[in-house]
Every structure is written in structure tokens, then in C-alpha cells.
Amino acid sequence: MILPESFKFITSTLSWTLRAGCLAHLIHENVYEFTETRGESMLPTLQNQYDYVHALKKYKFGRNLTIGDCIVAMKPSDPNHRICKRITGMPGDIILVDPSSSSNLTNTEKQSIINDGYNKFIKIPEGHVWCTGDNLCHSLDSRSYGVLPMGLITGKIIAANSMNIGIKGLCDFRWINNTFVDE
């Protein structure tokens, strides 16, 4: 039986679409991703809206990441949400959890003593990182949900574009650097 020419054309188109789609997916998972970010937690590094970031996926699962890198990760308490934070502690580091929980600006004297924020330290276990937003007073991060397993990290942010001026924003390209300074 000879198949009609049109049938052949349709199957070949569908097959190439499938292969192209899967290739795009492979690149999206393992090489590079360009996505929108929202939220105040990374101000002033990233704006709270209209910001698009370039993320490299070769750093996923925390491969070769160091302190000070910006990462994209899944939220431990809700894997469908993505978070964008800066790594501020590596495995083995000893971290002062949250001194602001005993600040006398936002807490009563009694509360600050109960919270004991200046004396609560933890040691980061193997395979985990400590991550915080750059905007410490408006960020939900390791200070509330604890250490982040490296298995949840999906990539490292290397650059960003601000799209609030429309497509012209593609020219407004800036690198996002590791701002950590070892004093």
C-alpha cells in the first residue's frame, strides 16, 4: 500500500515538532532559562516586577556554587513555588539565625529576651545551604523555613533584564555578580 503524500507530510511534521519540543525542553532543564521574577525579597538586585532573569542550569543541585551566588530554587514548603535568593551560608558554616528577632525596634523587651536572637546559632549540615533575600526585612527565607537542601536548587542567576519599558528592555541588560566580600 502506498500512503498518500499528504499523510506522509503530516506525520513527518508532527514527528519533527515532537523532537524540536523535546530539544527545547532539554535545553530549558539543563542549560539555560529566561524567566520572569516577582516579589520584593531581592530588592535592590532585582526589581519587584517586570524583571526577567537569565539562569544557567549547569549549577543545579548546587554544583560548584559558592557563597554570594544568586540562585533559583524550589520552595521547601511548596515545590510549585520558585524562590530567588542569595546563598549566605555553605555546608559547615555556623550561622546566627536572625538577630532582628531580638531587635528593640520591632519587639517588646520581653519578646526580645524570649526570642534570644543574638545567641541562636546553627551549623549548616552537609548538602544544604543557607539562603536569604537581599531585602532582609521583606523576605521569606532560611530564617523562617531553615536550611535549604541543595537538591532543590534549579539554577544560578547570572544576569537580568528590566522589561518595564517593553521590548526595548532587551537592551537594558545587566550582569548579576557575586557581591560577597571576605573581610
Binding site: R19, C22, K75, S77, P79, E126, G151, L152
Partner: protein
């Protein structure tokens, strides 16, 4: 010669399709270690289902594969012993007497409790670390489709 290169290239274009299939639908894995005996033996090959892995589809008693919280490059296979918001009494030298499992976390333990590194050591694991659910044993042949219930 020219024909050979063309065939190779065409075959290569199917690689992303295979990758997507094994990553999101089903993939065979080899079990290493003895933490799940007698359900799985060392070097068994199992089929792992990757789709529909939301927390609402996981129940107690399911065997799941997940990334180790201590070493993200390592995959572990354990049985779910507790779902989110449940209260668990850990077995051995866990620092607390009882644990309330946080939202979207799971408590996992190996069937062979003496040779297992599980939630009794590293605590509840996040749902995001789950890779898939073990469907059945496919190798060795005499144990195909063996019952995976806890005995």
C-alpha cells in the same frame, strides 16, 4: 558514507525525546545497597514512575525515589511512613522525641531499619526532592512484579 552521517544525525534528533520520556514518564533504575531488603535486593532493577507526583497522590506505604538531602547527586529509595501535618515518633537517636511533619514534607524510612540512612537521621524531606514512585521490580526475572507491600 554520506548516507551513514545522515542516519546518525536523524537518530541523534530522537535523543531529546528519550530524555523527556525518561525524565517525566518512566525510567528504570538499579537499586544499590541493602536499606530496602527484603523488598528490594542489591542490584535489583526497578521501574520508577515520574508523572503525577503531587503530594495528594502519595500515600503512606508508597516506595519513593528522592534526592538525598545530604548529597544531592545521590538518589535514595525509601518507604513513606508519614505525610504532611502528621506527628511521628522517631526510632533511634533523633534529637526530638516526636516530630510534626511540616507542610509538603514526607517522613521516609527503609524497610531494613538496621542498615538504613533515612528520616531518622536527616529528618523529614521536602516534597521537591522526590523524583518518582517505584512501580515494580523488573529484574531479576523471577522477581518481576513482586508484591511491594511492607511485610
Amino acid at each position: 558514507m554520506h548516507q551513514g552521517i545522515k542516519t546518525t544525525l536523524i537518530t541523534l534528533t530522537w535523543f531529546p525525546v528519550l530524555y523527556t520520556f525518561t525524565n517525566h514518564i518512566i525510567q528504570p533504575y538499579c537499586i544499590n545497597g541493602f536499606s530496602m531488603t527484603p523488598t528490594f535486593n542489591n542490584n535489583d532493577i526497578v521501574l520508577v514512575k515520574k508523572y503525577n507526583m503531587k503530594s495528594s497522590n502519595l500515600t503512606k506505604g508508597d516506595i519513593i525515589m528522592f534526592r538525598s538531602p545530604e548529597n544531592p547527586e545521590k538518589l535514595l529509595t525509601k518507604r513513606i511512613k508519614g505525610l504532611q501535618n502528621e506527628i511521628i515518633i522517631p526510632k533511634k537517636d533523633y534529637p526530638k522525641n516526636q516530630v510534626k511533619i511540616p507542610r509538603n514534607h514526607l517522613w521516609v524510612e527503609g524497610d531494613n531499619e538496621f542498615h538504613s540512612i533515612d528520616s531518622n537521621k536527616f529528618g523529614p524531606i521536602s516534597q521537591g526532592l522526590v523524583v518518582g514512585k517505584v512501580l515494580s521490580v523488573i529484574w531479576p526475572l523471577n522477581r518481576i512484579g513482586v508484591d511491594l507491600e511492607y511485610r
